[in-house]
Subunit: 397 residues, 2 copies
């Protein structure tokens, strides 16, 4: 935990000021701070925001930095899952190396927090988790990594997976994952009862991938909401994707969103470019905690994406048809302070007493910064500089 | 028209070869060409494709390189059109300067051809066209610019516009434009009869913006197809956006696409991120000539976009859910050889006798090049080098 005087930045796009950091926390924000003996960094007038938050990705999947992968398939979700599970070993997809590459690139591009899923299946056991735990350890102090134990190949349909999830939680995963309890597992009651029980056992939150469309997705969401309420899990459950919220009549969507907000269930959206996605503005207006994430980056599923939350903010903003400055500011907040709240990190803000997790952005205004594809001038985590001019202070293998 | 020996490139991602250019045309493609006295350029193993083709943009609208514009609005298409028409003069949006910035950036990023619309309305008369004609002249030999005289604010609803379109065609515009004949002009027969007559008078092709949804768009498309057939305009008519082709029952879409292909009407898609768009694969499979374009870049309508056809190819590819290598190759072709055919430029290929309009790309394979966000190593137009390492050989004002 470091002391640092960050001079000449524009907090949240406002007037120029300095930020004094003491023991890793923001001690003071004001113009012209004097702090003799404290290391000083000149922000050169850049914008300052709370560090970027990657709320939904898969650090264990990327081929970033590896030779081009030619084996991608079309087909169903099941085809894509099977192709990946079968390709990992022949491809030589070392999870520690690849998650380091992915996470270090996120740091370089301004992230201070990551929530990442890791595949837990009966073919790989806990080996993928172990690679990622090493990465979390190697990057401790540079970026916070939350790990979701994720039954990518199904839970009820692959006996033995629940026991592996239990072991994963014991070994260091933070969050119990789920996946399409109806369409994938064919047993929504079975999967949801199992993962809520596991979360109870470990005192852990839950994060469920829910791709299910229309009324099927709404049905599964209702089952999730019922359990959240019955088990007192308000504020501890998140649902990723939630495509169904873009496929229902307006009144039905509004009623669901109201209940999601009331039970404080978070939604994580990746702004999926070719799928229907729930409206960011509607979710925020309903009072839902929302985070955004890059999802998989150049993995066996698809060739797209960059390990960069500003790139993803643009994808999400374009997909949501955002145009106005106030809309772009809301988008940036969703990738920063609000996104942190959505993954359970409170108080992620440029305010006195908060952790000094700060990202500088180029641009005239916050809205301008969203569309400007330029390197982040400086990234600070707990008062420590983690990246400068688009390059992280650590190298990836 | 220049001679050049381009050494050590991989034509269409194939084995390393050289390309000999004589008088601006491709004279020979083979390994180890000797051409004493001819200037030589080392491609360093880069991929080579026919130059990128921007098939739908608005060079007269961008604020690129200007201070951040804070006045963007939400609202209807009409609101966006009115906001822009009223903002141009207070903003100081000089069309010559801005179209130069936009076009030079497209060159830097590998384009050799642009089709650009220019607003013709009763507020601005032909002043916007004149700025763009100066740009076309200034960049002659560096990039080919086709200009569509575009009634952005409506034709039948703004008397005097048709006469201005006529004058624009006389002054140097190449193509007669149209816009939402039903939803904007409230008189589809009136607008279409007028622009087909104007095209006949000037011996010019037609390019119609058609945002109209569902069966309304299909109705207008039918009116366009009927006139194309009756007037023998096969191969001379293009429709931009064509969102309706993404909103109809599958059989109806297939039948419309079949007729569009039979009458050789081209479709230009921008891969609009927040709208329904016609399937690139379905259109190509139906035999339709398809081009893609960036549409407006950071203009009064919206903050998004880059003046870069590789960036746009990624937007279109993500929107279309393309994953496999063969799909990415099809996408790249749509931004290159096939896109040229769609705007009426035949023979845009790496073949002996073709114009030496060539773009080099970084990457292991053509598919890899699509997702790789790196500067274009070299761009050649008619044998002349127009950009190197992501920088054009000319400066914009």
């Amino acid at each position: 935990m470091s002391d640092l005087l960050l001079r000449n930045i524009r907090p949240m796009g406002g007037k120029p000021a300095d930020i004094l950091i003491r023991e890793g926390r923001i001690a003071r924000i004001a113009p012209g701070i004097e702090a003799p003996g404290v290391a000083t960094e000149d922000g050169a007038g850049a914008l300052a925001i709370p560090g970027l938050v990657e709320a939904h990705t898969h650090l264990d999947k990327t081929t970033w930095g590896m030779p081009w992968y030619e084996g991608r398939r079309g087909g169903s979700l099941q085809d894509l899952i099977d192709n990946e599970r079968n390709a990992r070993i022949p491809l030589g997809l070392d999870v520690h190396r690849q998650s380091m590459r992915h996470a270090v690139a996120l740091i370089a591009n301004g992230a201070t927090h990551i929530r990442s899923h890791v595949d837990i299946d009966t073919d790989h056991g806990l080996t993928l988790l172990e690679g990622k735990l090493r990465t979390r350890e190697a990057l401790r102090g540079l970026i916070d990594i939350q790990i979701v134990a994720f039954p990518q190949s199904g839970l009820m349909v692959r006996p033995g997976t629940l026991e592996l999830l239990d072991a994963a939680m014991a070994e260091g995963a933070d969050i119990v994952g789920g996946l399409d309890p109806s369409s994938m597992d064919r047993d929504p009651k079975g999967q949801l009862d199992a993962i809520f029980a596991l979360a109870g056992k470990h005192g852990a939150p839950i994060d469920i991938h829910l791709h299910e469309p229309g009324e099927l997705g709404a049905f599964t969401m209702e089952l999730i909401l019922e359990r959240t309420q019955a088990l007192g899990m308000q504020g501890r459950v998140g649902v990723s994707h939630a495509f169904h919220l873009a496929m229902l009549p307006e009144g039905r969507t509004a009623a669901l969103m109201e209940r999601i907000a009331a039970l404080d269930v978070a939604i994580y959206s990746t702004g999926h470019p070719s799928a229907a996605i729930p409206s960011l503005k509607a979710m925020r207006a309903a009072g839902i905690r929302v985070g955004i994430g890059c999802d998989g980056i150049r993995d066996t599923w698809g060739p797209w994406g960059e390990p960069d939350m500003m790139h993803r903010a643009r994808v999400v903003g374009m997909k949501n048809g955002l145009r106005r400055d106030d809309e772009l500011e809301m988008l940036l907040d969703t990738a920063s302070g609000a996104g942190a709240a959505a993954i359970g990190v409170a108080g992620h803000a440029l305010s006195e007493g908060a952790m000094a997790d700060i990202t500088l952005l180029a641009g005239e205004t916050l809205a301008h910064a969203v569309v400007l594809d330029e390197p982040r001038p400086l990234v600070i985590k707990g008062g420590r500089i983690t990246a400068r001019a688009g390059r992280a202070v650590v190298d990836a293998p």
